[in-house]
Symmetry: C2
Subunit: 313 residues, 2 copies
């Protein structure tokens, strides 16, 4: 698949940070940024910009906050642009300097459908400072259709550059990806549409391909699939699929060998039965992550029964 | 997806045996058969029937040979039927007793396109003894189109019940699965068509779904994805997808917890970079399996370069 409009956004440090509280050391993140730049990746998301009044910086690594000076220590101006994410309700509006003074070239606002108005408010603030803005609607597999339609309608009226389709629970199958991709593209004329998949049912890469086939051009991926719970679409598989000659898989393979094989053994993202169960059942992965840490004392089958019976997400 | 015609064939012991030389102990295989029967799986493939004149029984576990008495020790007559596989050129024609005396209810002949005439010869012998026969055309991603068309044309003229589309190298993407599924279904009127995927690019489950969408009804899967190299479509994910009430995922979850989590840590099937590389590059996984055993002393990038440059498969 060679379509020059396709852009890859690597969010290894941001989504992967959900597995280690963003405790990546700076030398490693510097290596990651450099390797991704050499691989030709278009955007590198280096973390969240969480509100330090809500989250004590002592409790997490620096990539939960993405201070400008930390970003400048690990990244440099090049064709690979720095992205950061901020969550509705967890963001200090005053933490953003004007875009002209920042190394950040994209700010992504993560929201649930029900908080879309807050997301638009936050996006407008960020946009007013000069940043390109994406709104990422999480957990779309839990959204009611009329609510989603209304949210997309409101986003269509903004001047934000981008909207992302996000399968937070790794629940969606290809036919649902097709349906949603068509909806987003139709309802958001003139905007870029992106896809962010989780891998609970090992459909992260497959669903990203399906989104490409439907015309989505912004693709999230992570190195070795590192991300919350089962993780994300693997960057290396995506690079193997895309035939754009600007991409080079080898720097990513080097990073995997140097850092990620070992980290995966310790942190255990990827295909694991508890993650698969929450994916199949369209549930938030938090129960699976607790199960993986041994909090649940029960069997896989009991976990299945418990979640099958659970009313709430 | 609820389509009553859909049948699942579990080939954990047969394909998984490629990772441990079929050294599964009988109590475990008995447990596996029983769990799969409780899960409602339609066929259970318990191994190969390899020629004992070519392969010394002392070098492998019993499931490389599938002697009738070994099968009867672990399986019983029920709605889950016993299947075995035999390879063209590695099979002793005299090792088959009449079907009426056997617990085996399906014999699958594995072949490359170039050996299709031998496969048909072997299939006819087996069929003459009363067994239903499937021909599984391996490594279809290496087949030349006219050769494949000719092979399917020859198979169409047999009275074999089934033909399988096999992505041995885990190379195919959804659009290629669609194309091939349509071809097989069109060229094999009146026959059942099956799909057997490998998971090198984590597309095993995804591609199986795509085959279902195109109308393929016989689905191979393995418990926890156990199979050669990256393994196969995960049975548990497939059961989560299919809505036929006759299936129950829980006995499979129990088997995974009891046996397969530990085996996977030791044998290392699943998503690994060397397997992904051979998948992306449409190569036989043997080089990746050697790499995993440390035979290659080089890096992932060097392995990528070496295989990218290699002329032959």
């Amino acid at each position: 698949m060679y379509r020059p409009e396709i852009k890859i956004l690597d969010c290894t440090i941001r989504d992967g940070g959900l597995m280690n509280d963003w405790r990546f050391d700076k030398a490693m993140v510097k290596d990651v940024f450099d390797g991704l730049a050499k691989a030709g990746v278009d955007y590198v998301e280096l973390g969240y910009r969480a509100d330090k009044k809500q989250f004590d910086p002592k409790d997490s690594g620096p990539w939960r906050f993405c201070d400008e000076e930390d970003l400048r220590e690990v990244a440099y101006e090049c064709d690979s642009k720095v992205s950061i994410m901020c969550d509705v309700g967890r963001t200090d509006y005053d933490a953003f300097i004007p875009a002209s003074e920042s190394i950040v070239k994209l700010v992504r606002v993560a929201t649930y459908v029900k908080e879309i108005d807050k997301a638009i408010h936050l996006g407008k603030h960020v946009k007013s400072l000069g940043y390109p803005v994406s709104v990422n609607i999480m957990a779309v597999s839990h959204a009611l259709e009329p609510d989603l339609d209304e949210a997309l309608g409101e986003l269509a009226q903004t001047d934000f550059e981008m909207v992302y389709l996000v399968d937070s629970f790794g629940y969606l199958y290809s036919e649902q990806i097709h349906y949603l991709a068509e909806k987003y593209l139709k309802k958001l004329p003139g905007k870029q549409v992106g896809i962010h998949c989780h891998n609970n049912q090992e459909l992260g890469f497959a669903n990203t391909i399906e989104a490409i086939i439907k015309g989505i051009n912004y693709l999230d991926a992570t190195i070795f699939g590192m991300g919350r719970a089962a993780g994300n679409c693997q960057l290396e598989l995506l690079l193997g699929f895309l035939k754009n000659p600007k991409f080079d898989i080898r720097p990513v393979l080097d990073l995997i060998q140097k850092y990620f094989v070992k980290m995966k053994q310790e942190l255990r993202w990827g295909y694991e039965i508890p993650y698969a169960i929450t994916g199949i059942l369209n549930k938030h992965p938090r129960a699976a992550m607790a199960f993986m840490k041994g909090v649940h004392g029960n069997t896989f089958s009991e976990f299945w029964d418990e979640l099958s019976d659970a009313e709430e997400a």
